[in-house]
Each structure stands twice: as structure tokens, then as C-alpha cells.
Symmetry: C2
Subunit: 224 residues, 2 copies
């Protein structure tokens, strides 16, 4: 039994399964995360996973909790005195965004989960806490959570992404239908002229995110 210690692998656990799942999503995207592939990754059959997660939905919920834990961790490390509610909120939300950028599949996953995990509830509770400390009524804090939406967690769905379908073609494509979308063509042309480097991916996602976030936070401050 010389190789007895190398052959049998560590026993499975929910923790181990979830971490392997995140690793697969990070490496190959969330659509690559199948029960069979996950089983392979932990050195077991797909069916063995069901002893540690109830089903695939439970697996995905577990992943969300793992990401939330990562956000909590980062937020605590970079905590800031909360005498300025706006600065504190801004900091916390941009921390969440940092984590989201490390897991590009996370936003879409968060959107599809229908039940809110305890970790997610606690996160929003903390945001309300920051706003209360800043003098918000419960009512306004409530409106604020709705207004922020997913932006509270550091992401926003970009339905309008002129850079998508990208390459240098997208700008030319727009120009080809100049008569149908005159205003967008004007917009792209002017911005491309101001910053010639930006033909590909001419939207600075981080800047756009912060612009929208500050727009909302400023507006809330005014209604406080």
C-alpha cells in the first residue's frame, strides 16, 4: 500500500465542491460548469456531488454566497470611517465591483437567482446602516436600494454597449446605417475624434460606472 496515500483523494465536502465550481467558472465561464465536469474536477463521479449539494440550483446559490463572502472580506479590509455616508457607500460598492470584475460570470448569475441568500440580505442591511448613519429616513433608504438595483453590488447590465460586436467594424457598421441612426453616428464620430485611441472599446466601463453611481448618490444626498 505504498501508493495508498496518493491514490485516495481528500473526501468531498460542500466547501470543496463550491470552490471547484468557482474555479471552473473563472477558467471557462459559467456555461462550462456542468455536474459532470465538476465531478471530474474534484475527482469523483457527477452523482457524488448530490451528497453535498441538493441540486444544481443549490450549487449556484452556494457560489453566490462564496462571492458575497469575498465581497465582505474586501469591504472589511478597506473599511473607511463612515462619518461621510456618501464616501462610505461609494467605497463599499466599488469594493463589490472589484470582486465582480474578478468573476465576470458573477453578475449574470446573481441576476438569475430568485431567492436572496442570507449573505446578500446582510450586505444590503449594511448599506441601509450606512445610509441611516447619514441621516436617511427608512423610506428614503428603501427607495435608494431600489434605485441602485444591481449597482449596489458593483455591476450594471450594459444593454447599450456600442463596443459590442466590436472590432473596428462596429463603428463602420454604424456609419453604414447613418440614415437610420444619425444621433448615434454623430456621438461615436465625435467621441472617436476626441480620443482616437478609443475606436475599439471606446467606453471606459469603470468611468461610466462611477459616473452613474455618483449621479445616484448625489441625487439621494439632495433628497436626504
Amino acid at each position: 500500500m505504498a501508493q495508498a496515500s496518493s491514490e485516495p483523494r481528500a473526501p468531498l465536502s460542500r466547501e470543496l465542491v463550491l470552490r471547484a465550481a468557482v474555479a471552473i467558472a473563472d477558467a471557462d465561464g459559467i456555461e462550462a460548469l456542468t455536474m459532470r465536469r465538476l465531478g471530474e474536477a474534484v475527482g469523483a463521479e457527477a452523482m457524488s456531488l448530490y451528497h453535498h449539494v441538493a441540486n444544481k440550483g443549490d450549487l449556484l446559490d452556494g457560489i453566490v454566497d462564496l462571492v458575497m463572502a469575498e465581497i465582505d472580506e474586501l469591504a472589511e479590509r478597506t473599511a473607511v470611517p463612515d462619518d461621510d455616508w456618501q464616501q462610505a457607500m461609494r467605497r463599499r460598492i466599488l469594493s463589490a465591483r472589484e470582486v465582480m470584475l474578478k468573476h465576470p460570470w458573477a453578475p449574470r448569475l446573481f441576476e438569475t437567482r430568485t431567492t436572496m441568500s442570507l449573505a446578500m440580505i446582510r450586505y444590503h442591511d449594511q448599506l441601509v446602516g450606512l445610509m441611516r448613519a447619514g441621516g436617511f429616513s427608512y423610506d428614503l433608504a428603501h427607495h435608494a436600494l431600489h434605485a441602485l438595483g444591481s449597482r449596489a453590488l458593483g455591476f450594471s447590465q450594459e444593454l447599450f454597449d456600442p463596443a459590442a460586436g466590436a472590432g473596428p467594424g462596429s463603428e463602420r457598421m454604424l456609419r453604414d446605417m447613418a440614415d437610420q441612426v444619425p444621433h448615434l453616428v454623430g456621438m461615436v464620430t465625435e467621441i472617436a475624434h476626441d480620443d482616437p485611441d478609443s475606436t475599439i472599446g471606446w467606453c471606459d466601463d469603470q468611468a461610466e460606472f462611477e459616473f452613474a453611481l455618483d449621479l445616484l448618490l448625489d441625487g439621494l444626498d439632495r433628497r436626504r
Copy 2:
């Protein structure tokens, strides 16, 4: 051949296939929309559909275009003089929202499509047009589109939905973990007290949507 006119059904077409697909999604949700089910609905085999749509992705893109057309139609019917950019934008976006409410599956579908259809590009072009007429620079209009995100199309993903998992249980559940989420408990308690009818579904989605929309539009107006 007396029954020859009743037996053979109308020949398939892309239009017919897409409309049937929307009907299925409206009736039973987007997850009920499978190629086999859709084939059945139009009285053909699933495989026949591939003569009218390239694949399932193309089918979904087609559905998005259909919904966009519906939005355009309603917007034109309810058009408003655009001397007030903010009022014009508000009107147009709330029209889009009306259509989204008729197709509850649409927001999730819109989010998952990666390529922007011509109809969607045109919609955003019109929004830019409204803003330009209101004195916006291209740069600010560009920021505005990003800041609005999916809200420009009349929906927002509600990650924070205290009413979810709902029933009268959700409030009790929150109270059970009062020590973990003190601020949310306080918020729910106060709002429930102010409006006792609101225990179930105590968030007025339409009001929240308009609050957030006005917050953004007011903020944009100030930076105009």
C-alpha cells in the same frame, strides 16, 4: 379531397414562428419555449423550424426584435411634443416599461442577448435624439445611456426584493434574524406600520421605478 382545405395548415414563415414563440413565452414562461414545443404549436416538427430561423439564438433575437417593434408602436401612438426633453424621455421609457410588463420574461431575455439588434440600436438612437434636442452634448448623452442601462428600456433588475420568497412569512423571517440585519428589520417594520396593507408585496414596483428614473433624469438635467 373535400377536407384538403382543412388538413394542410398555413405554410410556415419566420413571422409566424416568432409570433408563436412569443405566445408560448407569454403563456408558460420563457423556459417553456423549446424547439419541440414550438414545432407542436405551429403544427409542424421541431426540425421544420430550422428553415425559418438559423438556430435557437436566432429565434430569441427575433423575439427581441418583435418586442422592440411593439415598443416603437406604442411610443409613436403616445408621442409627446419634445420641447421638454425630460418629459419626452420619461414618457418614452415608461411606454417601454408598459410593454415589458406585458411580457414578464422579456427583461431576462434582453439581458442575455449579447448582440444588439438593429431595433434596439434605433431605440437608443431616438433617446440620444431627445437628449440632443434638450441641449445635451454627445458626451453627456453617452454617459446618460450608460447610467440608465436597462432602465432606458423600462426595466431594472431587482436584486433587492424584500417581497420575494414572499407571503406573510418574509417579514417574520427577517424578524427572526433581527440581530443579523437590524437595519432591514427596522425598515420593514416602519414601512409596514405606515401602510398596514402592504405586508405582502410592500414594494410598489412602478413607484420605485419612477423614483429611480426621476433621480437619474434630474441628475442629468443638472449636469446638462
